[in-house]
Symmetry: C2
Subunit: 195 residues, 2 copies
DNA sequence: CGTCTATTTGAATGTACTCAAAAGCGGTGG
DNA sequence: CCACCGCTTTTGAGTACATTCAAATAGACG
């Protein structure tokens, strides 16, 4: 049942978990089944959970003062998501997370996370790598936002995740790129004409 | 000599270091004196160092295909800087770092960093918190870049760091905000007229 | 004082935006 | 099976804001 988590951890660590380690970890990850369009992390509410996406899709977003939605990140199979700020600080979340498909998650609460880090050094190592990678990715995203125009960012995105548009409505892709749905539509039509 | 590092670590950990711990750590942090405008981390070159800014100022930046500079972050007294990507992966750096003033750094290389994490649990904890905070900050910066216009971002910035414009040339502040120097100049003049 | 760099200002341009409406698409119920 | 509804995407026209190119002013430093 928790095999995807195991694979995910072992792949990032480049090291296998023992049967005992895996069994312990499994006990801390609670499966959650969610329908499409279910919001399970809410801005301004405490969310001391870490989630692993076993199957399905999610997006993490904020709503600005004008009521507009901005996607911070998508989450698919094998992604670790949640509101890290709330998870670590215990304060209200700064992001929202919602399913984009029927989704199966595994959730770990903060108390168990601390246990896991203490008892299973490999998990602590794994998680440190996870946060490091997340940090590096977001720094690069900042850099690319400033150095590339929307068209280039769109091209980079579909190169990295060619299936994104098959799974995610275009207006959410636009919100991830930092542009309006109309603008993304025009960019796409321009690219079609180029060929 | 290394007192600022000690204060910094103890403040973030909310816990004191023992004399023995501090002594060990001090040995791994090598002081570096740099003049103004010295670039000590170069894109495409390996940089397996972590830096603590003891005094002075730095900026981390990229140069895009058009040759334009984009500031990713500034570093002042008490900041931890460097190219995390290169530091952790051992691959060439993706960012450049340069002094903006005569600056005193403490540098720790990756080998010593690993020793420090192993031998001093508090340091490992501290560093994890540091990376976590960096990650959260950059996620929030992504969110604000998309949800706020340049004027709002400028106002938030000078609210957070009122002394920034006293220490950093305006064109670098513009590059941090993701706009051109001319645009920042116009935003500022518009704000003066509003009052 | 002169030179170099940073900042400001002006005018024209361009890119993405807003507002608005039409077309496309999927699902539901008559 | 088709008509209708809601939602997404596309398209059109006018607008706004930051950009570019250019030149003038201001500041810093020798």
């Amino acid at each position: 049942m928790h095999n995807n988590i195991r694979k995910n951890i072992e792949a990032k660590l480049n090291q296998r978990l023992t049967a005992a380690e895996f069994e312990k970890l499994s006990g801390w990850f609670v499966p959650i089944q969610l329908e499409n369009k279910v919001q399970f992390v809410n801005e301004n509410q405490i969310s001391r959970n870490l989630y692993f996406v076993d199957s399905g899709a999610t997006h993490t977003f904020i709503i600005d003062k004008k009521g507009e939605l901005h996607t911070v990140q998508f989450g698919f199979e094998g992604y670790w998501i949640g509101d890290m700020y709330s998870f670590f600080s215990g304060k209200p979340a700064i992001f929202n997370v919602e399913t984009l498909e029927p989704t199966t998650l595994f959730a770990m609460n903060y108390v168990d996370f601390e246990k896991a880090c203490k008892q299973i050094t490999k998990f602590e190592m794994f998680f440190r790598i996870l946060v490091q990678n997340g940090y590096l990715n977001s720094l690069q995203r900042i850099a690319s936002t400033f150095s590339e125009d929307a068209e280039q960012r769109y091209l980079s995105l579909i190169k990295k995740q060619p299936d994104l548009l098959q799974r995610v409505p275009q207006y959410l892709v636009a919100s991830y790129l930092g542009i309006k749905p109309q603008s993304l539509s025009r960019i796409r039509q321009k690219l079609v004409k180029k060929k």
